[in-house]
């Protein structure tokens, strides 16, 4: 099958990715409510839509056969948790028939509200190994501010339900730098989460993405951002969590030893991943692309035998190396020297070398020796990860 964007010279494509970790991402577009901070594509399911979704998903698996076993699966959304137990089992059947069980990890995202014993049992049954729940905050008034309609008790309940269902790898998401939030309040959240004792904690600085409710409030001046506070939280949180045994392995992610999210780490290292479901992205076979969003548009593409038709482009060796650097730098383990060597060899922009040196001179990027030299962001560098990423792309291309 010839797809747009792949017609250019094949010689620029990277070598085949055999041997690279292979992940499967499944997007479930439904969500019960829309949180004020969320810009992800989702819709409240209308009658029959979940049915339609599952049928289309089955069809997409037929268009995306894989020749080797998947290492990880990540089911995200939306809230996959919204699926009824029967639907969960059907989803498991579809994926299992197409790809078998993942070799390393199978994560499902859900809200505490949807974490019922029946559903969790269903997830467990189909082979899910890891639960990721959005707690966001333990403080009722902040939950309300975020447009999150869950009482804090629900978080505790959901967590213990998941444990009882046998999940030994649980992540909780928290948000910080909420409008008006003090360090003490944030610390209280951290204390609550640590008391629960999940294996993994994600702490997201509240962002104001275009077209979210929060963004509107911000642009109308109803709430204010306090960058200094964001910086403080960013700086203090890693130490705080480290003293409790959670180690930062990425800008926003902390885990107990051995519990980093394998799926995400593989993605950041630019392995291969296959995205199923509306608006899911794929990187596979030398190209990258995104499924059209919305059940109808996605379905229409599948009908025509197409996948990932939006923003589709070939991933050249240079693009891949640059992305390895940009996303790899967000991780504590950083990036191997050979990625840099590759960029230096391929980048045509003569400033690249001096730009990279400058990043080190200014103390934004540091080096570490283990097996070979590795590059990683410094504390200041972490805070500038986006800018550094944009500059890397600008200088490298």
């Amino acid at each position: 099958m010839k797809t747009p964007g792949t017609t250019s010279s094949l010689s620029v494509l990277p070598p085949p990715l055999d041997g690279e970790p292979l992940g499967l991402y499944v997007h479930v577009p439904f969500c019960g409510t829309t949180c004020d901070f969320c810009a992800f594509h989702q819709q409240t399911p209308k009658k029959g839509e979940v049915r339609q979704y599952l049928e289309l998903l089955a069809r997409e698996t037929l268009l995306a056969p894989l020749e080797r076993p998947v290492d990880t699966i990540f089911i995200g959304g939306g809230t996959p948790g919204l699926l009824a137990p029967a639907q969960i089992r059907e989803l498991g059947k579809i994926l299992g028939e197409a790809y078998g069980l993942p070799r390393e990890e199978w994560t499902v995202e859900m809200t505490p509200a949807s974490a019922t014993p029946a559903r969790l049992a269903a997830w467990k049954d189909i082979g899910v190994t890891r639960i990721s729940m959005g707690a966001q905050s333990f403080q009722p008034h902040y939950l309300e501010k975020l447009g999150r309609m869950q009482p804090r008790e629900k978080i505790f309940e959901a967590f213990s339900t998941a444990r009882r269902a046998g999940f030994e790898n649980i992540n909780l998401d928290l948000m910080f730098a909420l409008p008006g939030q003090s360090w003490e309040e944030w610390e209280a959240d951290l204390r609550e989460v640590v008391a629960l004792g999940p294996e993994h904690v994600s702490t997201y600085c509240l962002t104001f993405e275009e077209d979210t409710t929060l963004w509107w409030k911000l642009s109308r001046g109803e709430i204010r951002r306090d960058e200094e506070r964001e910086i403080e939280f960013y700086r203090e949180t890693p130490q705080w969590l480290a003293s409790e045994g959670y180690f930062r392995y990425e800008v926003s992610n902390y885990a107990r030893e051995g519990f980093a999210c394998v799926h995400n780490v593989n993605t950041w290292k630019m392995g291969e991943w296959v995205g199923l479901g509306p608006s899911a992205s794929s990187q596979q076979g030398g190209w990258r692309g995104t499924n059209r969003s919305g059940l109808d548009a996605w379905g229409e593409d599948l009908e025509g035998g197409r996948r990932a038709s939006a923003d589709r482009f070939p991933v050249t060796s240079l693009t891949r190396a640059l992305d390895r650097l940009v996303f790899g730098l967000r991780m504590a383990e950083g990036v191997e020297e050979k990625v840099l060597t590759e960029i230096l060899r391929l980048a045509e922009n003569p400033v690249w070398g001096s730009f990279w040196e400058k990043l080190q001179e200014e103390g934004l990027v540091g080096t570490r020796r283990g097996e070979g030299r590795r590059y990683h962001l410094s504390e200041e560098g972490f805070l500038l990860a986006d800018r550094i990423g944009a500059e890397i792309l600008a200088a490298g291309e």
């Binding site: 991402y25 800008v251 992205s281 996303f327 800018r387 550094i388 944009a390 500059e391």
Partner: protein, 598 residues
């Protein structure tokens, strides 16, 4: 109408003393324009002229006047531009006349332009009729005005006519004086046709239309004429008079004022003050007083939106059709992209052009620092004229730099003299002469570098004197000065748009101000970026742009790399829209703000 009953005159005055109002009254009184057709201030036809109360183009009009003694007179009123920037234009309009009404605001008395204009009129040998206007004002001080007339201008007070243009007082006396005191047209029996071109406009249907005063001979459609300065052949397609609308006539004869429609395509080809004569039987000498006008002030003009370059080019082209004094040529700046180096007669001219480009042509523009033309003598013995700091040779190659000066007459209330002298000093000027105008006013004659008055001199003079100060100037000589080119370096790269030529002693101060301003305006950067002011290789001021502290989005899901990358691409694109100076992205906004506020 025979020569004996023709009068050519103009009205000269300091701004706001009532020139336009009086012109309107004269038109009404002679029924040249029916009262119902009168728009207030009929002769200032451009919006901008009306708004700012200045006249940029001359507006001649012919009036028929029934004198009290009986005979009918033809009175040609030639309104003149009213600003120092246009003093050559004023002198050409005056050259078309035999007399002038010198208007003085009864409450204000003699002011800077009154003196300058009176001098211009005297040097053209015009008969001056002093008119004290606005006598209706309670604050009118007739004694003072009459005394100033005699003391400052050596014009006998008893010659003055007391008038109120607003209330129609003294209008008949003025018309009588014009017909009785001003002599009939001069030089009418000169051998050969001579027409003075005192203005020209571009008309999209008819092409270039010249405003002329015929001194001798006759001119009519079908004539082939030449311009005496450069021998350019001009075909006459139509002639006529101003009523004030253009009215076609069969011919224009000696002593009269009117217009000619020519085959010439651009006003730039017609030089103001030139003499038109017949190709077949040319006059031997030109009319006196012609000179080439040269722009005095230069500035780079750039479209705010780089996509508007063609629009700006078209706008300048259109303005130039009607304004031969505007010169421009393409230039490009690393910081601002493609634009034009423009030359103007002076600051007002610059402002007017800038306003018209914005308003009439809808192009948003940014102007770089105005610059004068420096005369640079190199160590190799050459002389260079430099109107753009970027073209200044390096310090080692310069023997001497000379700058243009002006001789300013500054009229101020006596109690402000200390502050004004301090201002003059600060601007590197010297006061050469002080004269008492009356018990509360002084006139200072100062020599100042033109460069120093370009930006805020006039505004500050006005504010120091609470609005009562006024100034006029004429161009002085070039004089040697200790000038240096100051570069502004962003991350060690010089930024052309900020380069300037300054006096050595002022360099450090100005450099520091600029650096501070820039450091404030440039958005926080990832790396530490020095902003420096330098003379030659020597750094004289330094600031550092604030460091960016946080730019990270928390979320970067596995299934979401594409989205994340898009965001980064967007940032990268945003960066491209900024001006790259070395590693630093400076938003165009920053350039504009710095150039604006300085």
């Amino acid at each position: 109408m025979d020569l004996q009953h023709t009068r050519n005159f103009s009205i000269i005055a300091h701004v706001d003393h009532g020139k336009t109002t009086l012109s309107d009254r004269l038109l009404e009184s002679t029924q040249t324009v029916a009262t119902r057709e009168m728009k207030a201030q009929l002769l200032d036809s451009m919006d901008l002229e009306r708004e700012r109360g200045i006249t940029i183009k001359s507006h001649p009009v012919s009036m028929a006047y029934q004198s009290e003694a009986g005979p009918m007179y033809k009175l040609n009123l030639i309104d003149t531009p009213g600003h120092v920037d246009f003093s050559y234009e004023v002198s050409r309009s005056l050259a078309a006349c035999e007399g002038a009404l010198l208007l003085i605001d009864a409450a204000q008395g003699v002011e800077a332009q009154t003196v300058a204009n009176a001098h211009l009129a005297t040097s053209q040998n015009l008969t001056i009729i002093p008119v004290i206007n606005k006598i209706d004002l309670p604050s009118a001080d007739l004694d003072k005005c009459l005394r100033q007339l005699e003391d400052i201008l050596a014009i006998p007070g008893e010659d003055a006519i007391l008038a109120s243009a607003k209330n129609g007082i003294g209008i008949t006396e003025i018309l009588e004086a014009v017909s009785a005191r001003i002599p009939p047209p001069r030089w009418a029996d000169y051998d050969g046709t001579r027409c003075l071109i005192f203005d020209s406009i571009y008309d999209s249907y008819q092409g270039v239309i010249c405003y002329v005063r015929v001194f001798s001979g006759t001119i009519k459609p079908g004539d082939t004429t030449v311009l005496m300065s450069d021998g350019l052949k001009v075909e006459i397609k139509e002639v006529g008079v101003f009523t004030p609308a253009r009215l076609k006539t069969k011919e224009l004869t000696a002593g009269n004022v009117g217009y000619i429609v020519t085959n010439i395509k651009s006003v730039a080809d017609i030089k103001l003050g030139d003499t038109l004569t017949h190709l077949q039987s040319p006059a031997k000498e030109m009319l006196p007083g012609y000179k080439e006008v040269r722009p005095m002030v230069f500035s780079g003009m750039y479209p705010l939106d780089t996509g508007d370059y063609e629009k700006l080019k078209a706008a300048l082209g259109r303005l130039r059709l009607n304004d031969a004094a505007l010169v421009y040529q393409q230039e490009s700046s690393m910081a601002l992209g493609f634009g034009f180096r423009c030359g103007f007669l002076g600051l007002l001219h610059m402002e007017v052009i800038q306003e018209r480009i914005r308003r009439e042509h809808g192009v948003d523009i940014i102007l770089t620092y105005p610059s004068v033309i420096y005369r640079v003598e190199t160590t190799r013995g050459e002389t260079l004229m430099v109107d753009n700091p970027v073209n200044m040779p390096s310090a080692n190659d310069i023997e001497d730099i000379l700058e243009p000066t002006i001789i300013a007459s500054i009229h101020i209330p006596t109690d402000g003299v200390g502050d004004v002298l301090a201002l003059v000093m600060e601007k590197r000027g010297i006061c050469e002469h002080t004269e008492t105008l009356d018990d509360s006013r002084l006139m200072l004659t100062c020599r100042l570098p033109l460069n120093e008055i370009l930006v805020d001199f006039f505004d500050r003079l006005k504010s120091i004197t609470h609005g009562y100060g006024s100034m006029d100037y004429e161009v002085g000589e070039y004089q040697s000065a200790d000038l240096v080119k100051m570069d502004i370096l962003v991350n060690a790269d010089p930024v052309d748009a900020f380069a300037s030529i300054v006096h050595r002693q002022k360099a450090e101060n100005k450099g520091r101000q600029l650096c501070e301003r820039l450091a404030e305006i440039i958005p926080p950067q990832m790396f530490k970026i020095p902003i420096q002011a330098a003379i030659g290789g020597k750094i004289i001021a330094r600031e550092t742009v604030r460091a960016l502290r946080k730019d990270v989005t928390a979320k970067c899901y596995g299934g979401d790399i594409t989205r994340k990358r898009k965001l980064l691409e967007k940032q990268k694109e945003g960066k491209k829209r900024m001006k790259q100076v070395g590693n630093v992205s400076i938003p165009q906004e920053a350039f504009i703000q710095v150039l604006k506020t300085n």
